[in-house]
């Protein structure tokens, strides 16, 4: 047990350090590719890191005493779910903890009396309401295939690639990934562009180091989500990683070719397509199990 604990701590620490570096690089590549798709040259790949350190060095400005608390919650709970992922813990609890990371950011955005930030927060809540069921159904799909909620079971000898049993769940997961990454057409809780109706939505009232930490959390999120995609093809793991990267590229393409939709449309579409697809998959697995 003692050895195991030390080993676990080492794995966790390595990932806590490595994840934001990988995530930062990926988001640099994201900006580069996006720029090329829009016929721009784009910033250097390391630009996200430059931005991060610049924000970190800025003067600390706040609207009330509590904003930083929520930013911390946002970051810590993302790290906690990353640790649960790399230590191959319970997948469902991981989803709950990841959800709390978002809830914490929403609380932070709601804690100030700014209409932009408030509306951004409300929209983020609606987004959560749309994608959260799909994420949980994904977990159930994994359970029905592996008979366990532990991520470690995905890697066990007897399990084949999840993708074979869960094609529609995988599709649904990719669908909600767009929402979770706040990419177009589902980026209505935030907006990357200066002059649009929400200014920066959720993050309107965060500045300097607060914003830097939110960006950091975003990198963690990115790695967690790509890690979850990898689970669908965990053996050999490099195939899973390639699938994850291809999916990410697909997200970028979708981001660039689509315009933002309204929240009503999003809820209806996500419930119908996302939950629908995942449920169909789960029902057939269930029926197969019964036979």
């Amino acid at each position: 047990m003692g050895n195991n604990l030390v080993q676990n701590i080492i794995i966790a620490v390595i990932w806590i350090v490595a994840a934001p570096i990988l995530g930062g690089i990926l988001s640099g590549i994201d900006r580069k590719i996006t720029a090329r798709m829009q016929n721009r040259f784009g910033p250097p790949i390391m630009q996200p890191f430059y931005d991060f350190f610049k924000l970190l060095g800025k003067e600390r400005i706040t609207v009330n005493q509590t904003q930083m608390v929520y930013v911390m919650g946002h970051l810590f709970f993302a790290i906690a779910s990353l640790v649960m992922l790399v230590l191959k813990q319970d997948l469902l609890m991981l989803m709950f903890i990841l959800a709390f990371s978002t809830v914490s950011l929403i609380m932070g955005a709601m804690s100030v009396r700014s209409p932009y930030s408030k509306i951004g927060a409300q929209r983020e809540i609606i987004q959560m309401m749309a994608y959260e069921p799909v994420l949980i159904l994904m977990v159930v799909g994994v359970y029905l295939t592996t008979k366990s909620f532990m991520i470690s079971s995905v890697f066990s000898e007897s399990t084949g690639p999840l993708l074979y049993n869960l094609p529609l769940v995988f599709f649904a997961f990719l669908y909600v990934l767009t929402i979770k990454l706040r990419k177009s057409p589902f980026d209505f809780s935030t907006s990357h562009h200066g002059h649009q109706e929400l200014i920066k939505g959720l993050t309107t009232e965060f500045s300097g180091p607060q914003l830097a930490l939110i960006e950091l959390t975003h990198w963690y999120d990115l790695i967690i989500l790509l890690g979850l995609i990898t689970l669908f093809f965990a053996k050999p793991i490099w195939v899973g990683i390639i699938i994850a990267l291809v999916s990410y590229f697909l997200e970028l393409v979708i981001d660039n070719i689509s315009a933002r939709v309204t929240w009503r449309w999003m809820i209806k579409a996500t419930w119908l397509i996302g939950i629908g697809a995942a449920m169909i998959n789960i029902v057939w697995l269930y029926l197969k199990m019964k036979v």
Binding site: V63, V103, P115, F149
Partner: protein, 657 residues
């Protein structure tokens, strides 16, 4: 002898205090009685824990069933008579009809006209871990709410401007209520249980109508007739069961149904008992009585929602869970609960009245408990009992908070609670912790939700309801927490003035809510695991185990299939969340800026109330939550949900007939 003493004190002491409260109409004396009774009840709860742990799981207490049986028969008749009187004087003939529907079978049955004089076992009280948990909830949370009420009712009557205080009556009913609840969960005689069941129905009528205005009387009558219809189902079930088994002992009934007795009229009888549980626990389509109960003074709502009344319903359903486990009835009970969880959570999103949000959340959580009882695996029953505990503590706390806030700001609307931290920092802290304990990891309610999902993977319909429902719960809680925590910069906070009784009740329940979550592992291992093992469920999996700082699910052959470790680590994270920003501020203060509105803020006010819009017009900023009434509005959903829930219940009866 010790257990006789405890039993007597647990039931008769509150009843005696009730009489004292009514007879001695002095405020100081009443507060003294309340505090003394509360302490005694805490002691009784502790005493039962000791006794039960020493006895190894069941306490059987024999009494002279003949004499007590006759006392209860007489009281039964008096009770029915009183309800008839209510029905006639308030001209609610539905109540009269429903009472006769109980009175006639009751007289025929108890009078021995049906099967001869019913045989009543000498072992009239059997206390196992499930009863013990209910005793703890009733005898700890109940008195705390009563203590709260001493301060609250004073203020309440001051607001109403009553000439003659109605408090003696109020406290009398509260204590009778607690006595009846304690008796209900301890007795093993199902016809006695029925009597105490009806006592709680009457008490809730009296408490809901306490203020005496037309709205409260109307809502109380609704509560009365809905619960009476459950009572009709209850007495019919008793007669049906007795006609087959010739026994009134709950232990014996469950044992017989488990060993091949679930045939003939018995499935229908158990279905009727579940139906009675649904009405009492305000499952859809019976939810309206609990929503209407909001008109009563806050301690009443807190009591109805946390440890008494609605918990009696789920107690019955969970108590009989082993009797109907793995039957079609169980599947449908699970669907009824899951559907209520979904519908309640969805409608809660559209509510801006704080008490209604809490009420819908209660309905939803009770649904989840019933759903788990229906699923009936070891994990599910464990989740059901855990949720009964966590929900009772947290919901009691939240109701008391909303009541306290309402007395201060004069509104129970969520939107009016914006910036509450400035006016009531103490209450804000307590209510936010209470809500967090309903929503976030690593607190108990979330753990049970997680267990419920993991337990329901094998029934897709139930699963879908729980999954959607838990997404909705996140929506309404986070909206509410967000609005309460909306604040601008303020230099220092000073706790508000509250009556000592109110402050101590809130603090006690706050500690209780935190302790229940932190101690989930020992709580499970000591009280719940032995109970589940004693049920001898057909489920082959090893069930739940608490170890390594968390809870683990174990499948067939003790293989770990899920788990959540390191609950303390998450508590540490919460501490860090608060401490790091605090010390950052200590080392170097931040610059304070007003929020960005839609233009320049008037006077650069850090609160951000007004801004200068085009043409130098001053605009006031109003920020509100979304309530999505187009999608989740009460008006849109209630009718359809009721129709659907009614249909499910009809299917349930169709299956068992």
């Amino acid at each position: 002898m010790n257990e006789y003493l405890l039993l007597t004190v647990a039931i008769l002491l509150p009843a005696f205090s009730a009489l004292l409260c009514y007879a001695l109409r002095n405020k100081a004396v009443r507060s003294f009685i309340v505090v003394l009774t509360s302490l005694a009840m805490f002691g009784v709860a502790g005493g039962f824990v000791n006794l039960l742990l020493a006895s190894g799981g069941t306490l059987k207490i024999g009494v002279d069933a003949h004499i007590i049986g006759w006392v209860i028969k007489v009281l039964d008749l008096l009770l029915m008579g009183y309800i008839l009187y209510i029905g006639f004087t308030l001209r609610k003939y539905l109540v009269v009809v429903l009472t006769f529907l109980q009175l006639i079978p009751l007289i025929l049955f108890e009078g021995g006209l049906l099967f001869g004089t019913p045989h009543e076992s000498e072992i009239a009280f059997v206390i196992d871990y499930l009863s013990l948990i209910m005793i703890l909830l009733v005898s700890i949370i109940g008195p705390i709410i009563t203590i709260f009420a001493t301060g609250y009712m004073e203020e309440h009557e001051h607001h109403l401007g009553l000439k003659k205080s109605k408090q003696p009556r109020f406290f009398m009913i509260l204590f009778i209520f607690l006595a009846a609840m304690n008796a209900l969960v301890m007795t093993d005689n199902i016809s006695w249980m029925y009597f105490f069941w009806e006592v709680t129905t009457l008490c809730s009528f009296l408490l809901i109508s306490h203020d005496g205005n037309s709205e409260s009387v109307k809502n109380a009558l609704r509560a009365l007739w809905i619960n009476l219809s459950g009572g009709v189902a209850f007495i019919s079930a008793i007669i049906a069961i007795y006609s087959v088994y010739g026994s009134l002992s709950i232990t014996e009934i469950i044992e017989k149904t488990k060993t091949g007795g679930f045939v003939g009229i018995i499935p229908l009888a158990i279905g009727l008992l579940c139906f009675a549980g649904f009405t009492k626990s305000a499952q859809f389509p019976f939810q309206s009585w609990l929503l209407g109960a909001m008109v009563a003074p806050t301690p009443v709502s807190a009591l109805l929602h946390s440890s008494t009344m609605v918990k009696a319903g789920v107690y019955l359903v969970v108590r009989f869970a082993p009797a109907y486990a793995n039957t079609m009835l169980a599947n449908i009970v699970a669907v009824v609960g899951a559907f209520t969880f979904l519908a309640g959570s969805a409608i809660a999103i559209s509510q801006s009245n704080g008490k209604r949000v809490l009420a819908y959340s209660t309905i939803a959580n009770l649904g989840l408990i019933i759903c788990c009882a229906g699923i009936g695996s070891k994990v599910a029953i464990g989740a059901a009992i855990l949720l009964m505990i966590f929900h009772a503590v947290s919901k009691g706390l939240l109701f008391l908070c909303v009541g306290t806030i309402e007395q201060e700001i004069g509104s129970r609307d969520i939107e009016d609670m914006q910036g509450l931290a400035k006016r009531m920092p103490f209450t804000t802290f307590v209510i936010v912790v209470g809500m967090i304990s309903m929503l976030l990891p690593p607190f108990g309610v979330l753990i049970t939700k997680w267990l419920a999902i993991e337990a329901s993977v094998n029934s897709p319909l139930v699963l879908l309801c729980i999954v959607l429902g838990s997404a909705f719960t996140v929506v309404f809680w986070s909206k509410w927490i967000g609005i309460i925590l909306t604040m601008s910069y303020k230099n220092s906070y000073k706790a508000e003035k509250l009556d000592f009784s109110v402050r101590s009740a809130l603090s006690l329940l706050l500690v209780g809510a935190l302790a229940a979550s932190v101690l989930i592992m020992p709580l499970y291992n000591i009280f719940i695991a032995p109970h589940i093992n004693s049920l001898n469920l057909a489920d082959k999996a090893a069930g739940l185990a608490g170890s390594n700082g968390g809870v683990w699910l174990q499948g067939v052959g003790n293989i770990t299939t899920g788990g959540f470790a390191a609950i303390p680590v998450f508590l540490l994270l919460f501490a860090l969340m608060l401490l790091i920003p605090y010390f950052m501020r200590k080392t170097k203060a931040e610059r304070i800026k007003p929020p960005y509105l839609c233009g320049e803020n008037v006077d650069n006010d850090v609160r951000g109330l007004q801004f200068i819009s085009p043409a130098d017009k001053v605009d006031v900023v109003v920020v509100r939550n979304y309530y999505l009434t187009g999608m989740f509005g009460e008006g849109n959903l209630t009718l359809w949900c009721n129709a659907l829930a009614g249909a499910i219940i009809l299917v349930m009866f169709g299956v068992v007939i």
